[in-house]
């Protein structure tokens, strides 16, 4: 549910980073915030607990500048990954235009990833959306850790519809921008498809 203002020529889209607790959603945003020049991004807002766990959401606005006369902005959000924050997680999905599903590649997180994907589908439905109608990019994070599931196996577990997927080490920034570029393009393509004749 993007906001398109033809009067002052603005397009705003909402991208949500989803995934189980501690999979690296906030780390993605922190890296993007660090690397993009201040004139193209706003402040990173984090509603976190004292131990830096996301409580409600993180928020980072990005400004793509003018495209065909339209000032185009992306609003990046993360959801709280911990299971018991489900009520809050649902709320962040309101008005989502595109998703990044962040996967914790470690073997012991397999169940959590699958559960989180199921939870995403349920929560989208509760807000009146279907995952099938939304652009999504999958990110296999923590590829630097020793005990990880091979990508082919993760693809089978998570990426059922063959969305673009990327391996990443979010703490070092590896794969972070590949993911962001891919989801941004998908979102704008989907908006543009809906809007043009």
């Amino acid at each position: 549910m993007s906001l398109i203002n033809y009067a002052n020529k603005e397009i705003n889209c909402k991208i949500v980073y989803y995934g189980c607790g501690l999979c690296g959603k906030t780390t993605n945003l922190l890296y993007i915030h660090k690397k993009i020049a201040a004139e193209y991004r706003g402040k990173l807002v984090s509603l976190a607990t004292e131990t830096d766990r996301t409580l409600f959401f993180d928020f980072l606005p990005l400004d793509l500048g003018s495209i065909q006369g339209f000032t185009t902005r992306f609003h990046l959000y993360t959801v709280p990954g911990q299971v018991h924050y489900d009520a809050s997680r649902k709320l962040i999905l309101k008005g989502v235009d595109g998703l990044v599903f962040v996967v914790d590649s470690q073997v012991e997180r397999t169940e959590d990833n699958i559960e989180s994907l199921e939870n995403l589908k349920v929560n989208l439905r509760s807000q009146g959306y279907e995952l099938d109608n939304l652009p999504m990019v999958v990110q296999y994070n923590k590829r630097d850790l020793p005990n990880i599931v091979p990508v082919e196996e993760l693809e089978r577990q998570i990426n059922h519809r063959g969305d673009p997927s990327f391996e990443s080490i979010a703490t070092e920034g590896v794969g972070v921008f590949d993911t962001l570029r891919a989801v941004s393009k998908l979102v704008l393509a989907s908006i543009s498809q809906r809007q043009s004749i």
Partner: protein, 165 residues
């Protein structure tokens, strides 16, 4: 389904919205008036926002409203139509327009909650009419689409340009 649609604003509606907001700012003697999409996107702002991060403010207002609506649902009611946060110097009044858009007023002791409340009530009636109209148009047809078909491809190169390490 209405929820899956974008909010699209055209010139004439946007002008009316801005007229209503600007009058509300003056008549309520408020500091700032913001109109925010429920997903957290800023539609319009009036008043002096030079010392304020209005993008973050909009996003947090929507989050605030969403959280409170969820509280209302737990209590078995639809939503709280008005939220009021009182501060020592500045206060915030948040209300909902047509279930889809939220109106945020920031005010200080130059005015009163009573006055803000009364002015908001009037503005809400006017905004409701405008948005009812907008949503009816969005629901009715797709004839006013005006993004160029090459928009996505132009956007792609901008994305490559900007979103990089």
């Amino acid at each position: 389904m209405q929820h899956e649609q974008s909010v699209e604003l055209f010139e004439e509606d946007y002008q009316i919205i801005n007229r209503v907001l600007s009058r509300l700012l003056t008549e309520a003697n408020a500091r700032i008036v913001l109109l925010v999409d429920r997903s957290g996107q800023l539609i319009s702002s009036h008043g002096d926002t030079s010392n304020m991060d209005s993008t973050a403010f909009a996003s947090l207002s929507a989050g605030n409203f969403a959280a409170t609506s969820a509280l209302a649902k737990i209590l078995g009611q639809d939503e709280f139509s008005v939220l009021f946060h009182q501060g020592e110097k500045e206060s915030i009044h948040i209300s909902v327009v047509q279930s889809r858009v939220i109106l945020v007023i920031v005010f200080d002791n130059r005015t009163s909650l009573g006055l803000v409340r009364l002015r908001v009530k009037k503005a809400l009636e006017e905004l409701s009419t405008v948005f009812e109209n907008i949503f009816a148009k969005l629901g009715a047809s797709s004839e006013r689409k005006s993004l160029d078909s090459s928009f996505a491809s132009v956007a792609e190169s901008e994305i490559d340009n900007l979103f990089k390490d």
